[in-house]
Symmetry: none
Subunit: 232 residues, 2 copies
């Protein structure tokens, strides 16, 4: 990682900006927060972010207006945007933006997924070396195509299973607790109990560990970890 990526997070809900600034900082990014469209515009000039996480609904200007003024101010290159929107406000306009390299997510989202997308955008724009492929022993996960293989057999995962495996792979060799998993992989407003994690671990095992030596290990009283099988 050369110089940390600069991200501007714009949302009027403090709980969201807190959540995201913490999570993105934890990922080693340089984060600035704005709660109003005007603040966002100002930060554009001073902070010069490489990516904006932008709530569509803001008290003063909406996300599109912010973008419009932005491109009026800064001639030339446009900063990529990851829009946040309520599920039921899903504007058709938004869909159009994905064409331009922008992306969007509906609230409530999972932090894991948001970070995946932030990284994907940065990778595209900045031509990062990271190729979005995660591997452990003969297990392979392709971020772009959303495909998972064990050896040569393709494994079909549901969205949640995929996110969970992705998170485990990112932390391969480290034990992650059930609550860490819950925080990252599930939507931030999920308030069910940690038993879901066990259940999805169980699903993953059925699909992945049945094809070879087990990679998913329970560390009793602590959490779960992905570990390559012992060489023999």
């Amino acid at each position: 990682m050369s110089t940390p990526a600069r991200i501007l997070v714009v949302d009027d809900e403090h709980s969201i900006t807190d959540l995201l600034s913490m999570a993105l900082r934890y990922e080693g990014m340089d984060v600035r927060v704005a709660h109003l469209g005007r603040q966002a515009l100002e930060a554009m000039g001073t902070f010069r972010p490489q990516l904006i996480v932008l709530d569509v609904m803001l008290p003063d200007l909406n996300g599109f207006e912010v973008l419009e003024r932005m491109s009026r101010d800064m001639a030339g290159t446009r900063t990529p945007v990851l829009f946040l929107t309520a599920r039921d406000t899903l504007d058709d306009k938004l869909r159009g933006f994905t064409l331009g390299g922008d992306d969007y997510m509906t609230k409530p989202f999972s932090v894991e997924e948001l970070i995946v997308r932030v990284r994907a955008i940065l990778r595209r724009v900045h031509g990062d070396d990271d190729d979005g492929r995660l591997e452990l022993a003969d297990l392979r996960l392709e971020e772009e195509s959303h495909e998972v293989f064990r050896g040569t057999t393709a494994i079909d995962l549901t969205p949640t299973e995929f996110k969970l495996l992705h998170y485990l792979l990112l932390n391969a060799g480290r034990v992650v607790s059930k609550s860490q998993i819950l925080d990252r992989v599930w939507n931030y407003d999920f308030d069910g109990n940690a038993n879901v994690v066990e259940i999805y671990i169980s699903y993953l095992r059925r699909k992945i560990d049945s094809l070879g030596p087990p990679l998913i290990h329970t560390v009793r009283g602590v959490g779960y970890t992905l570990r390559p099988p012992p060489e023999s």
Copy 2:
């Protein structure tokens, strides 16, 4: 360790703050104590801790309110927090904090474990040189992955066995008494008899000393110690 880490411990129970300030000071840290949210806020400004151990339930403000006011005062970087909470009060809000590198423990905890976590946070934030690997002769314990090896063979330990070995390794070469072990490794409210220590030492020996020259030694009338085998 260059300059001692500054830790602020906030809890209204004096027995807890006493216990922790003693243990953390013994670890070479610079400890300050507060018993109320207001005191904590004040200490933030004057003491500028690098980490806060914060009880969620305080008489005046709760832990979250303390944090909120804190981040209002100090713009920018937030001090990492290790929350303490009663097991049955396990607030959903807490869950979200593990995202930002914060962590939490439920009371009653073991001092040993608390110190492990404090160190883990400091290591992350301050990029400590300590890599969380403990070694003695051919015995190796990895904190991150919770793995233990003797030579190349992996050793499977239960949570208590792991904590005990961890403590012994931290004090390798020094004799620790059974009551010291009981105080550090077991939850602070444990009131069973000291024979458990003997039992767990026995378990460890079976798993560890059976694989090579013995490393765990009894010092009759005093306690136990970990010592490398004599070269030969």
